[in-house]
Symmetry: C2
Subunit: 429 residues, 2 copies
């Protein structure tokens, strides 16, 4: 995929076999979301530009949409994530929804960024959120993490995932305990620990007015990681305690313990370096990494918002996790880590002896399809050797000869046997 | 759906229960397409504006896409159908595809039309096409019609569909036999027979220079309709015969007979009023109508292109049918013709006696989910009456009480029984 020249940079398209892998992955995720009681929604591709403005400022990477040839300024833009449309959808339909509203959404988003390795202008996100009305019980917050974890574990084509959890209340409460009055810029500095050397972060914290002792305490917390035991003892060893910090610690420990008990594939650990400083999270924060792809960065993330949406009368807190389906899939394709099938979803090519007997071949296909076995019928009557090569090029493993009571050849092994289209079942490797 | 005020006119969004119906419909179609050996592809939402220009002219209803705040003129537009992107995709990937290339595609398209009854600015199309390289055997052309018919018949929520078939070679060959030198404007006039009174069509044909006798012969052909017998005798009775017309007639009769033999739900008939005059079809043309919705117009259509795509060296003929998923679904929703479930996909709400026993409830949910039964766990411990009402509002039919060996209540009948989460299966109505 990645080695192919694409006609529009940043807008990759998949070949049929790659798309089949994407579909299988997406279906596994969606089916798990439904098992956990999440409903699907889709939102329109465009939003009014003011809705897309974050904090009043319109982001540079936005795509504007306008009627072609119209002189009026654009009023619409393509969505850049699935959280902004969710907040708008919830406000618009609040009276028709039951809360907590558990929804998943798998749709493309667009960002007009300069294309570079791992950056795309159109890519598919898969989001799971729970939105409450005024309140959102912790049980629901926990469910979002467990659901996404179960979903990613259920997708056979994905490697194990590592969930790294932190909590804004814990971090901010700890900073308060150190006498730091404005915790948000500190969070943003800590968030850069994976990208910049430690000395650069110390300089950032110094610029924020932190004393050397505060700086060293902030970095000490950021180095705490591991299972619930390691988090508890690591945090306790720092000797700081505030009510807010305690609340965050309890939430984090509860989440780590619940996930450990689930015993799904992949790891879940605490990591107090995770701050997600650029978003307005107010509790749990999460990043998701694909094991074996250390250079890829996070393939998912999210957290808790006390005010995902608000309309003046009512506040809607939310907890959501976003999985970068395209990001993960394209990395797996580029690494050759997926076993792709051929172009055709068919398992059987029904051969055609002559145009006069095409109806017999069609009857075989009808019988197989009625039993859920995908097949194609040879487009033109040709020598059998050519029909076998036709199947091979399309990645179809079996060729049927004759009528419903006929013979079937496994072109991988070359083995041919008598078979009835009413009872035979393909053995797929 | 249709009665709800939407915040952006022409961009309807569905509530979760409506979306579930859409998903079920789409999944039924896609699963049948795969049974017939069609691969899924998706294309990016945008195309370069010149690709979207039809015959050199850019359509007025196009949406242009540009980086927000950029002074440069827009270079991209949102796709208005799935055929133009398919042709571009085939040319771009010709060396990596096997032909005939059988693909389906279910994606939204955008048209900046003035919103009115039944017109949307974003809507989902589901297209099935076969693309050949230089040649496309008739067997493949036939397969497209049969596949779409089987797919629509497989979707339980759709009413029976009526496929109306015609053939451009038949119509144009007949016009040639009448001595009409330029058949395309005649086709365009005939195409309006369902919208304008007969006298208006006669006036259009007169303006094109047709004699009264030619006009009456053109309208006589347009009134031929019915099964293959009716088409054969109706056409023969007109006493015109040219080689091109014969070829078209044979194709049409073969298609009608093959579809009749398939015996799928819904009707397939010939209708020589179908011309699809505005597109560059060169053989079979099809329109699809939803029985019981006479005012809706066609919900699908398509036909054969001798040159779906061409790159100067190679020509790619194609045959495709497009189904207006949104168009059909919104009409069914507006008519109240779908039985919608509740907001939640869960079949069971696992009640929670107290926060202390939440883990027992989670164990019940884990056991049910492992068996493929979707469920939710009550977010907060409350009185059982409130938990039952919670399930009811979300459309969840069963409430589980106690542990894995517990009791389950069908809240529709009120019946409660002992059950094991390891063996019990919900009876859904």
């Amino acid at each position: 995929m990645s080695t192919r020249k694409q006609s529009l940079s940043g807008f990759p398209e998949l070949l049929p076999a790659e798309r089949a892998a994407e579909q299988e992955l997406q279906q596994a995720l969606e089916s798990t979301f439904r098992l956990w009681g999440f409903s699907s929604i889709e939102t329109r591709a465009v939003e009014p530009l003011p809705v897309l403005a974050k904090g009043g400022e319109i982001e540079k990477e936005l795509y504007a949409v306008a009627r072609y040839g119209s002189a009026a300024p654009a009023e619409l833009g393509l969505r850049f994530d699935l959280t902004v449309p969710l907040a708008r959808y919830v406000l618009e339909n609040a009276s028709r929804l039951e809360f907590p509203f558990r929804r998943y959404q798998a749709q493309p988003v667009w960002r007009g960024e300069r294309p570079q390795e791992g950056r795309y202008r159109q890519f598919t996100q898969v989001d799971v959120d729970v939105v409450g009305k005024e309140t959102l019980p912790f049980s629901q917050e926990l469910d979002v993490v467990r659901t996404m974890r179960a979903a990613l574990a259920s997708a056979a084509s994905l490697p194990p995932m590592r969930f790294e959890l932190s909590n804004r209340k814990l971090l901010e409460g700890y900073y308060e305990g150190l006498g730091i009055s404005d915790p948000v810029p500190v969070l943003r500095a800590v968030d850069k620990l994976d990208k910049l050397p430690r000395a650069a972060i110390e300089a950032l914290l110094f610029d924020l007015g932190l004393t050397p002792s505060q700086t060293s305490s902030v970095l000490a917390l950021a180095s705490v990681e591991g299972d619930s035991q390691a988090i508890r003892s690591g945090v306790r060893a720092l000797g700081v305690a505030t009510p807010r910090m305690e609340e965050g610690l309890e939430e984090l420990l509860a989440m780590l313990e619940a996930c450990a008990a689930d015993n799904d594939r992949g790891r879940v650990r605490g990591n107090l370096r995770i701050a997600r400083g650029l978003d307005y999270y107010t509790g749990t924060v999460v990043e998701v990494f694909m094991e074996g792809f250390p250079g890829l960065g996070a393939v998912g993330g999210g957290g808790r918002y006390d005010a995902l949406a608000a309309d003046g009368r009512t506040t809607y807190p939310g907890m959501g996790l976003s999985f970068g389906l395209s990001r993960a899939l394209y990395a797996l394709l580029a690494a050759g880590a997926l076993s792709l099938r051929g172009q055709s979803p068919a398992q059987v090519l029904v051969s055609v002896l002559s145009e006069e007997t095409r109806r017999d071949s069609e009857a075989v296909a009808r019988t197989l399809r009625a039993r859920g076995i995908p097949c194609e019928v040879m487009p033109t009557a040709e020598k059998f050797g050519r029909q076998i090569r036709f199947a091979d090029r399309r990645g179809i493993p079996f060729v049927w000869f004759g009528e419903v009571e006929g013979e079937v050849k496994d072109i991988r092994s070359g083995k041919q046997q008598s078979a009835s289209a009413s009872t035979w079942t393909p053995e797929l490797s």
